[in-house]
């Protein structure tokens, strides 16, 4: 994806930002490569917007440096070759759509003809050619979002920063727009850094993402690395649904670890080289990795647990079951509703046998 020798498009090098006693971001180090779609993901208030504001120049780090293609970013915001799309869109209410897009180009002193050409190109790109004369308050939320995008992209930034760009849209439009953003980014090849608290959004759009935790990076990786190989309980729990089982290490070798879990007995999990015998660790098991067999049929996988269905949450394409094991622990299990008959899957009160492979369980030491 990137030339290994070239410096990253954007590098946070030990960046800290304090607001009084609040540490918004704490020694953040992060490399974002040219041409990638990078997501900063985390709960609200964990310090996602702050790095963007530092990169845009609205705010300065308390410590550390930010580098753009290897050169320290210290210029005032109006001289930085990065652009930001604001969560509130921040469209100028007294200017038409076209004037909003023109504003940034005028500052560069481009010839009139080129400005006009670029504005119409940008409006076409976001399918707003017909609405150039409208004022922002005459647009729908989705249209405003596209104006904001066009206005930032018109500047042809080296890095486009997007702060919760889709948060104000309703669910369906948001889902469509995610794919649109991804297509747009591929086509333009511009480096995109998006901030979001929505894990689905981050995973949909991003090539790589960083999961943030209280001002620090908990894990960086591709969406599937982070989903399938979470580095900590925090990451496993934040991304998607997960069963976290606590237990003590009984045996460990190169290919697996055996853990005695309260309420489950011994469970064989994927390898955990750091784990020591006797140590307390956690097992992360995704609901969809568990196979359900009703009655006496045997399943696949090294681990087997029996239990009773206590709750069925019907979600349409799938159902989320809560299964109480014989020892009284609860496991979340998802079953895909392949057939149209709702009564197909296990019902409340039914006994089920749950099986899952050792490889599908991630052993976590933190």
């Amino acid at each position: 994806m990137s030339d290994a020798a070239a410096p990253p498009a954007l590098r946070f090098d030990g960046v800290t930002r304090r607001f009084g006693s609040v540490v918004a971001i704490d020694r953040l180090s992060l490399d974002i490569f040219a041409g990638e779609f990078f997501a900063l993901l985390g709960p609200s208030g964990c310090g996602k917007s702050t790095p963007l504001r530092l990169a845009a120049g609205f705010d300065a780090p308390s410590e550390g440096r930010i580098l753009l293609h290897g050169a320290p970013l210290t210029a005032p915001p109006h001289l930085r070759p990065v652009n930001m799309m604001f969560q509130s869109y921040a469209l100028f209410p007294h200017m038409s759509v076209a004037d909003n897009v023109t504003f940034g180009l005028k500052q560069e002193g481009l010839p009139k003809a080129e400005i006009a050409a670029r504005v119409s190109e940008m409006l076409a790109l976001v399918q707003l050619s017909a609405l150039g004369a409208r004022k922002p308050h005459q647009l729908s939320g989705g249209q405003r979002q596209r104006v904001a995008l066009a206005r930032a992209l018109a500047k042809r930034p080296q890095v486009l920063l997007l702060d919760e760009p889709l948060a104000a849209l309703d669910k369906k439009l948001r889902a469509e727009t995610q794919f649109e953003l991804k297509r747009l980014q591929r086509r333009l090849g511009t480096t995109f850094v998006i901030v979001t608290h929505d894990q689905e959004e981050a995973m949909t759009v991003a090539d790589r993402m960083a999961v943030m935790q209280a001002g620090t990076v908990a894990q960086v990786g591709t969406p599937d690395e982070i989903y399938e190989h979470p580095a900590s309980r925090y990451v496993a729990d934040f991304i998607g649904d997960v069963n976290l089982l606590q237990g003590r290490v009984v045996r460990t070798d190169a290919s697996s670890v055996v853990v005695a879990c309260d309420g489950f007995g011994e469970i064989i999990a994927g390898p955990a080289p750091e784990a020591r015998v006797g140590e307390t660790i956690w097992l992360a098991l995704r609901p969809e990795k568990i196979a359900v067999s009703e009655g006496g049929r045997a399943g696949v996988g090294q681990n087997e647990v029996t239990g009773t269905v206590v709750e069925v949450g019907y979600r349409g394409e799938q159902s989320m079951l809560e299964v109480r094991t014989a020892a009284g622990s609860i496991l979340k299990v998802s079953v895909t509703n392949r057939r149209r008959r709702a009564a197909d899957g296990p019902a409340v009160g039914e006994s089920v046998r749950l099986t899952f492979a050792a490889d599908d369980i991630v052993a976590l030491t933190r």
Partner: protein, 311 residues
Amino acid sequence: MSEGATQGGRGMRRSWTLRLAILLPFAWLVLFVLLPTLIAFKISLSQTVLAQPPYVPVLNPSGGWDAFVGFLNALSFENYTAVFTDSLYLASYLKSLQVAALSTALILLIGYPIAYAMARAPRGVQSVLLILVILPFWTAFLIRIYAWINILQRDGLLNQLLLSLGIVDAPIAWLASDTAVYIGIVYSYLPFMVLPLYATLERMDAALREAAADLGAPPWKIFWQITVPLSRPGILAGVLLCFIPIVGEFVIPDLLGSSSTLMIGQTLWTEFFANRDWPFASVVALVMLVILVGPIVLYEHLQARALEKAR
């Protein structure tokens, strides 16, 4: 059935209170604005005499129809032609408009940076600054103008300061000059400009300025192309809140100004109290009202639009 009846009853009661709510301020306006204006209009058509009341004709209600017709015939627009032909009054009006325009411009020039700084100050500091702006209102207006006499007089604070700093060799005669009038007016009306400006600037989304900077605009362009256009409602409100009362200002030019250049408020006062020419004073007052109708209507229109937007 019974439900419908109670609903009808409630509806009627509501419309009754609604009517009262409209009627009360309406009655207030008729009683204290329209009626006095009409009386002033009637007096403006009379002629001055040395009597009590100091004008004729006086309507005698017991005189019947003939007396009423005679009364009507005795009214005339003579005073109006006089006010437009006598250069003294014309000069007075022009002087008032000039003072109002220039001092409003000065107030805007001084008030905008103050309001801007207030709106950009940290939250806690903002409320302190706001109190400081309002604080002078806790002292009587007249006393504050007298304080300015103290400051501006020959051996006053200002001259002492200038002399001790060696900026001037001899004390300057500040009082009884246009400069003193401008100082007094700018000082007195500054809060009326700062407050509406501060209200608009404080509400302005900081992200708009950041977006402008992000798009490549240097600070001065952000100020002129984003901040100023978006604060237009505040500017207009402040300008009208200052301009309208300054045109009719009496106390400040009377106490700080010279007698050579009179503002219309002073001319009005002289006609009424010194010359006891009530008809002419009424004409002067009504003409001033007509001059100010434009700005007042504009102000009302803007207020209504701001209310509409806020909803």
